[in-house]
């Protein structure tokens, strides 16, 4: 079992492109760290540097306290699950799983018992004699997992392993991966662009953007206290509502000129945000002190079943409000959107959180 420590890791390609611009992450033993971000943010490159498939331009990667910059992927004792599974097409499931062990010179009977017990855990026992092309997507995914688990490595690396599965299977496998990881207690790094996957899987969530870490923390902390506008709009679906502010000495003013009843801050905030579920709507006109109240026009209603999303035009922006059950409002209704003061997020000129 092992920790993974990244210290100021950089990746500069020979073309001069800087894919990772100095990232430091410390992953404690047995924890699952999820790297999430839009495509091109450097998360996959970072993972491949941990794996040893990509050279490290600057900084250090340490596994179990030992710097592994100069060591190849084989000696790092890691196992990787690839996006397209990368199963050996000409080998049976059994051989796919056994291949890594054979290359390490593990005795035959030990390989056999390990492959069979891993197959049992993953419910692959009946498929050991099949070839990858005879398997469904979900089964291939399992084999790829099995190939990683059977080696009993120090670290698991997952490179968007669920992105080729359909939505239902993805949900199932997500839970399964989480359970397996917890049961096996292997330190893991998981790359995804899916914020839902990131939120549900992570012990530590690392949000990346443009080669830099935007925020690191427990998933719910990141959700509740996003460190920047980028994180606020990336984590959460639908994303956080953001309203532009023009500051003045008397207090913040919304883009459409409405002054709102909040004291001026030390650092002037230029963006105000609240999550769709932290707001409510009302048709009444009573005063609501200590809350943000926005007159709004309903533009569209999306009933999802257990909840509904109201898309409204307010203060010159479009905002989304989540209401539980069925919405009483219909398109065209005039109403007021109310968000409690403690649920508001303020961001400064640079897009950083202001508290």
């Amino acid at each position: 079992m092992a920790t993974v420590d990244l210290k100021d890791v950089k990746k500069v390609y020979p073309s001069g492109v800087e894919a990772v611009k100095g990232v430091s992450i410390a992953i404690p033993d047995k924890e699952l760290c999820v790297l999430v971000g839009p495509s091109g943010c450097g998360k996959s490159t970072l993972l491949r540097m941990i794996a040893g498939l990509e050279t490290i331009s600057a900084g250090t990667v340490a596994i179990d306290g030992k710097v592994v910059n100069a060591i190849g992927p084989t000696e790092r004792d890691i196992a990787m699950v690839f996006q397209n599974y990368a199963l050996y097409p000409h080998m049976k499931v059994y051989d796919n799983m056994a291949y890594g062990l054979r290359n390490r010179g593990t005795p035959k009977d030990e390989i056999d018992s390990r492959v069979r017990s891993t197959a049992k855990v993953l419910e692959l026992s009946a498929l050991l004699d099949r070839r990858p092309r005879e398997l469904s997507g979900g089964q291939r995914q399992r084999v790829a997992m099995g190939r990683a688990i059977v080696r009993n490595p120090k670290v698991f690396l997952f490179d968007e392993p669920l992105s080729n599965l359909d939505a239902k299977l993805r949900g199932q496998m997500r839970v399964e991966i989480k359970n397996l990881q917890r049961k096996l207690g292997v330190t893991s790094v998981y790359v995804t662009h899916d914020q839902l996957e990131a939120m549900t899987l992570a012990d530590i969530l690392v949000v990346m953007n443009a080669g830099l870490v935007e925020q690191t923390g427990a998933p719910l902390d990141v959700y509740e206290k996003p460190a920047s506008i980028f994180v606020a709009s990336f984590i959460g679906a639908p994303p956080m509502n953001l309203l532009a502010l023009t500051g003045s000495s008397s207090g913040p003013i919304l883009a459409d000129g409405t002054a709102i009843d909040f004291a001026a801050r030390e650092t002037p905030a230029v963006t105000l945000g609240f999550r769709p579920e932290d707001a409510d709507v009302t048709f009444n006109a009573e005063a609501l002190p200590g809350a943000l109240v926005l007159p709004a026009t309903v533009e569209a209603v999306e009933p999802v079943g257990a909840e509904s999303f109201l898309h409204c035009a307010a203060a010159g922006s479009r905002i989304v409000v989540r209401v539980s059950g069925r919405a009483a409002a219909k398109p065209g209704d005039q109403l007021r959107v109310v968000a409690k003061a403690e649920k508001l997020h303020w961001f400064d000129q640079a897009g950083k959180r202001v508290d």
Binding site: A51, P73, T74, A86
Partner: protein, 282 residues
Amino acid sequence: MIGQSPLRTFIAHAVLILGILIVAFPIYYTFVASTHTLQTILRPPLPLLPGGQLWNNYSEALFGGIGRIGGVSVGQLLLNTTVMALGVAVGKIFISILSAYAIVFFRFPLRMTFFWLIFITLMLPVEVRILPTYKVMVDLGMIDTYAGLIIPLIASATATLLFRQFFMTIPGELVEAARVDGAGPWRFFFDILLPLSRTNIAALFVILFIYGWTQYLWPLLVTNSNDMNTIVIALRKMVSFADADTEWHLVMVTAMLAIVPPILVVVLMQRWFVRGLVESEK
């Protein structure tokens, strides 16, 4: 394909049968001639049905030796040609798969230079460099040897490029998975690349075997003694300008026997050939 009207079916079959007849008739006629005595062949018209000399003619050619080529038997010619064709096919595949492996999967200085050097040789057919090659073979004492027949034909830009194209379709993730699984370059080559290339190798083997089997110019130059001739060269030597000098019945037998091995290779390898076209294991 779609329409199933009887007329269409009839026309389609008629065209196909006509095509087969045009291709097959000369071969059939050769076979017929190979079963008659020399006298029958020389006295036109040649019968359209096989004669009674099948066994005599074939055993005379295969085991007896043919006078016009110094008494060498067709058996010896078949052996020579088989050695050459196999040597060329196996050698070409061996060399080209290794060079393609190096060019695709390794980063070394002047990699692209080497690639282009190989590529450029495509523009230099055997005929263009035949004199210097001949001189080299003479200096190395390889005239009238199997090595002399095979080695100059082995280097193959075409096969190298073919393997290169195939290797480039192998997903990078597969290569990386093997690296993570602890497979070094040799392991990766033997455990993963070679099995995946099976169908390509089979297809290439068929093509190259026939290429080696039908070589004319190079064997003509590099073999002087009759017992090192390949079957195609010997066939040419058997035919004299004067009709009467030519043992036509044996020429026909030799021609028939020269066709057999390539056909065997194609038929036996056909299963692989088709598999290579139908399925892609990736």
